[in-house]
């Protein structure tokens, strides 16, 4: 699939995403739920993350998922759309949403993995509908945010911050 150049998430859609993530965490009893872009960037999270470094976690989870898709290709599989990582204390389920996003559920041993799988799939369907709307509205929303003045000010900030 051709990659998008930008993805713009509006306030309304972020609220929809947060609602889906929050309900999934609540219904499964998961510690927390995260929505990542497949490039590793964090879109939203819900639940008790504590002091976890979600930026690093996002980069690693997206990397692991992306790596698993290469493994699938070598095995002649079309895709691995879901990965389950099991630890002593905590487990992680990652599901691909519409080739663009990654839904990550972090849960402990109190939560049944089967329940997480079923409800994560349902939440994934809802998130896919959000993603479709976000895709369609991306261009217009981008023009409202990024203009000539924005680019010029960003360039000045880059010059002043990243110096030898």
């Amino acid at each position: 699939m051709e990659q998008l150049t930008n993805l713009v998430v509006s306030e309304g859609e972020l609220a929809n995403i947060a609602r889906v993530l929050g309900r999934l965490a609540l219904d499964t009893g998961a510690s927390y739920t995260i929505l990542l872009d497949k490039s590793g960037q964090l879109i939203a999270s819900q639940g008790q993350q504590g002091q976890r470094d979600l930026t690093a976690l996002g980069a690693l989870m997206a990397g692991a998922f992306s790596s698993s898709r290469q493994v699938a290709e070598i095995l002649g599989e079309h895709d691995f759309r879901s990965i389950l990582q099991q630890g002593v204390q905590e487990n992680i389920l990652s599901n691909l949403i519409g080739e663009q996003w990654l839904l990550v559920v972090v849960f402990d041993q109190q939560t049944h993995v089967g329940l997480v799988k079923v409800l994560a799939r349902k939440s994934g369907e809802e998130l896919e509908r959000v993603l479709d709307r976000v895709r369609h509205g991306a261009s217009e929303a981008r023009q409202q945010v990024v203009n000539v003045q924005f680019r010029s000010d960003a360039a000045s900030a880059i010059d002043s911050l990243f110096q030898d």
Binding site: M1, E2, Q3, L4, T5, N6, L7, V8, V9, S10, E11, G12, E13, L14, A15, D37, K38, S39, G40, Q41, L42, I43, D53, T55, A56, A59, L60, A62, G63, S66, S67, R69, Q70, V71, E73, I74, A141, R142, V145, V146, Q149, F150, R151, D153, A154, A155, A157, I158, D159, L161, F162, Q163, D164
Partner: protein, 191 residues
């Protein structure tokens, strides 16, 4: 793929440092990490083998601060350079917004640089992207080496797209920030 989060007033972009094994990609990130001002830089995360070679990627988040009310963040990644890790490089390229190709200036690395660049072009094509119309910067690294290939030669063989190019010595930091500034601006320009 840049992510513009209007609700959180955040813009996030992904930049990948690509190149052959031992060309200095990780050294670039280490220099940026140790010299960028503190509020702007996050923790440098490395997945390396016991011999300190990059196994999967290095990751360094940078925070440009507020621009027009939006917090602009860059996520810098490196790929593992060894030939063996081609599939891993494809995985790291996923969703990339800008690429720095770090070329090793040693004469014996010229062919390897060339092959690595062809591989990058092919991987980008598979993702539906053309390097010619993509934020792309060349870095001629290891200029401090005795016998380094002259820049016009590197330019002729490795830079037929005439991408902006910077001479560098990542170990001493020369050229590291000019390269970073150029790729960040190119990415912002393409948003």
């Amino acid at each position: 793929m840049a992510l513009i989060n209007v609700a959180k007033r955040e813009i996030q972009c992904k930049i990948v440092y690509y190149g052959t094994g031992f060309c200095g990609k990780t050294t670039n990130l280490q220099y940026i990490h140790s010299h960028a001002p503190r509020p702007a830089r996050g923790d440098l995360l490395s997945i390396a083998t016991e011999s300190e070679r990059t196994l999967f990627f290095d990751f360094l988040p940078l925070d440009l601060g507020q621009v027009h009310g939006f917090r602009v963040r860059f996520a810098l990644y490196t790929v593992p350079g060894q030939v063996l890790y081609e599939r891993t490089r494809v995985a790291v390229l996923n969703g990339v917004d800008g690429i720095v190709f770090v070329a090793d200036s040693s004469p014996e690395k010229l062919e390897e640089n060339f092959q690595n660049l062809l591989e990058l072009e092919m991987n980008m094509r598979r993702m539906g992207r053309d390097l010619g119309s993509f934020p792309f910067i060349m870095q001629w690294n290891k200029r401090d080496l005795p016998g380094a290939v002259p820049i016009p030669t590197l330019d002729r063989y490795l830079n037929r797209r005439r991408a902006p190019a910077f001479a560098a010595s990542a170990l001493t930091g020369e050229g590291v920030f000019p390269t970073l500034r150029a790729i960040c601006k190119a990415v912002m320009g393409s948003l």
